[in-house]
């Protein structure tokens, strides 16, 4: 469903990604792991149209996705939950979620989706009238994922959902990722928390200095010595 070939990208004079190839198929969780500064976030930003690639191609659902505005990609079902979450802080939880309906605001059954999100993250229902910026880190992460789900994504891209969360909360969030996959949404998960991400993922890529150095099933990589090396340089 998502196919990336020879992708290179960077910011003004700084090339960060070097000829990246990766794919995500329907119904799978793909993890992209790597150390800090390896280019994970840049990869996601490029995929969601925020950074223009300098070379290479991205196709989503068979259609060209390079040069398409981010808002249009969202309408097509390619949705990112960015690092830092990009929530609307001064808006309430419910307003944040309802904004996820923007591209489908004329559809009749759209607000039923709200119930599904609340079912996935009951805490959000409890806090629906609260401002997003007053939520705890974990709740904010749930809200960010919930808001993205409201757009009815075909592929959900999560950038470091575990950042700043306690291990217990990380598992709550990653459990939800599984549920989301089971509801038929493909997931591209970017994590520095490698062990957890690899255990969860169907397939995974290891990114180092802007290039993919390893790929395989999540289980394979989870026990791979080379992954440890990529992280700790041992």
């Amino acid at each position: 469903m998502l196919e990336v070939k020879g992708l290179s990208a960077g910011y003004h004079h700084l090339q960060i990604l070097h000829e990246l190839d990766l794919e995500v198929h329907e119904g799978e969780i793909v993890a992209l792991v790597g150390a800090n500064g390896a280019g994970k976030t840049t990869t996601l930003k490029t995929l969601s149209g925020l950074v223009r690639p300098t070379a290479g191609s991205i196709t989503f659902g068979g259609d060209q996705a390079v040069g398409v505005r981010p808002s249009e990609l969202v309408a097509r079902g390619l949705v990112q939950v960015p690092e830092g979450r990009a929530l609307f802080g001064p808006l309430t939880v419910e307003e944040n979620l309802r904004m996820g309906l923007w591209t489908r605001r004329k559809e009749a059954r759209a607000s039923a989706d709200l119930e599904e999100v609340f079912e996935l993250f009951p805490i959000l229902l409890e806090r629906r009238k609260q401002l997003a910026e007053t939520l705890s880190g974990g709740q904010q992460q749930m809200l960010a994922i919930g808001r993205a789900l409201m757009t009815r994504p075909k592929l959900l891209m999560l950038d470091e959902p575990s950042t700043g969360l306690s291990p217990k909360l990380t598992w709550t969030v990653l459990d939800a990722v599984k549920t989301i996959r089971d509801r038929g949404v493909a997931v591209l998960l970017v994590e520095q928390n490698a062990a957890q991400a690899l255990n969860l993922a169907d397939r995974a890529y290891v990114l180092e200095s802007g290039s993919i150095v390893l790929s395989g099933t999540g289980k394979e990589l989870a026990t791979d010595e080379r992954v440890r090396k990529a992280y700790l340089g041992l």
Binding site: V74, R85, T103, G137, M150
Partner: protein, 336 residues
């Protein structure tokens, strides 16, 4: 760069219901109120006349409402587009001349002119944003300042070129003094105040209660986030600028019977609107309305406190103090 999570990971917080009024900084509003009361007392001590002070307070509040409306448009534009719009007052001047021609030239009732001026200014704002400002979005602040400065020069001097510098006026049929709270105010002044409050209320409802308004606030809060839920931010920018311009236009119609209509009238409102916006906190729409009242009062009471000086001097003193001590505004949220 690693981003800081917005808050600590505590799961023990109790949910607090938070209607918008519960989030207003009541303590600071209290301090501002106390300052206003102190100014009133001082003004009374200096002038020695209750009537004079009451008159000043009533006049100040009435005109303050209009200032608030002008500033709401400006602050909305700043909050969403991140542009300090130096042309805001010029748009108000266009509205003044438009209503002059609708009233004096075509015999329209001064307030009916709203029906034409409001959509016309909305459209003008949209066009200016789309065809002039859009090219400078995301450019350094100086460029945007200078572009809006250029627009204001063009507008103000085109008005001068086409209409000349002769002052004009619009009169409201049946305008007369009305006694309120022991003071006298012209009917047109009262109606301008009421009109400004109604329009401010409508704008507030638009922002709070409609999904379009929520989208505007969402773009103001986090435009990257807005793109990620599929909002086309370019469209929101255009719309917001149009709404802001329409606010200036509406204010122009409302004050037309109160002011002498000249090309430079807009500049005066522009400068006052800046003061109000900073007072209220840049981007804070409710703050702008409160700030308008504060400036209206400061202007009127200032005339009593510093007799012989321009009433605007006090406004500027307040402005500079606020900029230096609390640049995020009197009613802005604390921190950041």
């Amino acid at each position: 760069m690693t981003s800081q999570p917005m808050v600590a990971d505590q799961e023990t917080r109790t949910p607090t219901p938070s209607a918008w009024w519960a989030r207003l900084p009541w303590l600071r509003i209290g301090i501002v109120l106390a300052a206003v009361v102190a100014a009133i007392v001082l003004a009374y001590l200096r002038s020695g006349s209750t009537v004079v002070v009451t008159q000043a307070v009533v006049t100040g509040i009435l005109i303050g409402g209009v200032y608030g409306l002008v500033a709401m448009g400006l602050t909305l534009i700043f909050g969403v587009l991140d542009i300090v719009n130096f042309a805001h007052g010029s748009f108000l001047a266009i509205a003044l001349f438009l209503s002059y021609y609708l009233v004096a030239g075509m015999g329209m009732h001064p307030y009916l002119a709203l029906l034409i001026v409001l959509p016309a200014m909305f459209l003008l704002g949209a066009l200016v944003q789309r065809f002039v400002l859009a090219g400078a979005m995301g450019k350094p602040l100086e460029n945007q300042l200078l572009i809006t400065l250029g627009i204001s020069l063009v507008i103000e001097n085109s008005l001068l070129l086409f209409f000349g510098a002769n002052p004009r006026s619009v009169s409201l049929p049946g305008d007369q003094g009305v006694a309120i709270l022991g003071a006298v105010a012209e009917l047109s002044r009262i109606l301008a105040f009421v009109g400004a409050l109604v329009l401010a209320g409508l704008l507030f409802l638009l922002l709070r209660r409609t999904s379009l308004g929520t989208a505007i606030r969402a773009v103001a809060a986090n435009d990257a986030g807005a793109q990620m839920v599929g909002i086309d931010t370019r469209w929101i920018y255009m719309l917001t600028f149009a709404i802001g311009t329409a606010c200036a236009g509406a204010a122009g119609v409302l004050v037309a019977p109160l002011v002498t209509i000249e090309p430079v009238t807009g500049a005066l409102f522009n400068i006052i609107a800046f003061v109000v916006v900073v007072l209220g906190g840049m981007g804070n729409v409710v703050g702008a309305l409160l700030g308008g009242l504060v400036v209206g009062l400061a202007e009127q009471l200032g005339a009593l406190l510093l007799p012989g000086q321009s009433p605007l001097l006090v406004v500027f003193i307040v402005f500079v103090l606020v900029l230096l001590l609390r640049p995020q505004g009197l009613f802005g949220r604390s921190g950041s």
